[in-house]
Assembly symmetry: C2
Homo-oligomer: 217 residues x 2
DNA sequence: GCGACTTTGTTCCTGCGTTCACAAGCGGTT
DNA sequence: AACCGCTTGTGAACGCAGGAACAAAGTCGC
């Protein structure tokens, strides 16, 4: 019995595969049959050689002299990323950002299903966002257990993010995406990924000012 | 005349400096006088040696045997990142995500000032968010020119993001932060930074499932 | 005043990601 | 059937980030 995926796929490659998947879906909708690595790389904003190397992690999936078959490659990447399987997610903190995520249709088509939206503000509870209802935070553990949710998203203010993280981990969540501007600590076996919007903006601004100093042209 | 910043600072270091700045601000508010690299690294979630290497890009700014003086280091990092100077930003696309960004108080304290919020929906125009008023998109070029905005944020749907990007670049914006799920192309001299929320979630989910396969324990 | 401890700043090294360049393979054409 | 052009897949080199270990330096205690 050979194992179909012998080695681990680098994290940077996984991130790009998700981008390729989006481009391929768009091409497939446009009725495109095949694409070359050069064209696909241009659409994704990466180097053609790097794209081929990324795809090589999935095994040979192109035809030399022709290119990649759009539909086949899309399904291949979707299978590797696990898009077809539905993943139960919970989201805590229904502010503007949390509402944006809950309402974003792109998650549903990628295999993510929000099985619970939570907040502490009574004004928020009962609101319907993206087809789901906001529940009081007290019900977090019950919903996580009942739905078998393994993914949690935190969009709360910074001061309560750690306590939410602890509760999620204790309830059985294994992967946490944190938008709160704090560094969370989680027990072993639970990995946390942080997205800091203000850091992104600050890096962008710094690179811009650094470019001005380096190249006064 | 020696140049105060002889070399360029790596991008990864810049991102971490922003995190250190936040931690240091929090420590300063708590009345803390000095910190060691180990403690600061733990709070930021990085390796102590890496933190010292990051800080070495600013020149010597600690005292051996003691640690770093909290207030001094905070001001030093703030100066390098250019926090004290106010940067004019424009934001196009006042949906949930755009509202979240416009309303986020963390930007103002980091030197970013939104001088214009724009949308095409007449229902949005005139709304006040985070102390600013939403304007029709037609006024984008005028506001960018008048305020000298060099930073633009795109939180529009994917299909109009490229046209907004083009208009921003033509109007004088030099740095663009793109939240729309498309790869934008901009003229030389304008750099685009992309944040894709669904990609982040997909990477997280994949790492979780890969971990289960690799370590069945 | 001197020694020892603590902590920074630096240097080396290992591993990873990215890029370039080439061989292998397939389709179309004559 | 053989040749030619095109594209994939892979191997090698380069550059960079991350981690560990060590020397320099300053402070505290005696």
């Amino acid at each position: 019995m050979i194992q179909p995926r012998p080695r681990t796929i680098p994290e940077a490659t996984v991130a790009r595969l998700a981008v390729y998947l989006r481009v391929l879906s768009s091409l497939a909708d446009g009725g495109r049959g095949t694409v070359s690595s050069g064209e696909l790389a241009a659409a994704a904003g990466v180097n053609p050689a790097g794209l081929r190397k990324d795809l090589s992690h999935l095994g040979p999936c192109g035809v030399r002299g022709v290119g990649y078959e759009v539909g086949t490659l899309r399904d291949r990447i979707a299978g590797v990323l696990g898009v077809e399987r539905s993943r139960a997610c919970v989201l805590v903190g229904i502010g503007n950002l949390g509402s944006a995520l809950a309402d974003y249709a792109g998650f549903g088509s990628r295999g993510f299903e929000f099985v619970g939206l939570f907040d502490v503000a009574v004004a928020r509870i009962g609101q319907r966002i993206g087809g789901h209802t906001v529940h009081p935070l007290d019900e977090l553990e019950q919903v996580v257990g009942a739905a078998g949710a393994t993914i949690g998203v935190i969009t709360t203010p910074a001061d309560v993010a750690q306590s939410v993280c602890d509760r999620m981990a204790a309830a059985g969540v294994r992967s946490i995406l944190n938008f709160a501007p704090v560094t969370l600590t989680a027990p072993a076996g639970v990995d946390v990924r942080k997205v800091d919007l203000s850091v992104e903006l600050q890096v962008l601004a710094f690179l811009g000012q650094q470019r001005l100093v380096g190249e006064p042209a």
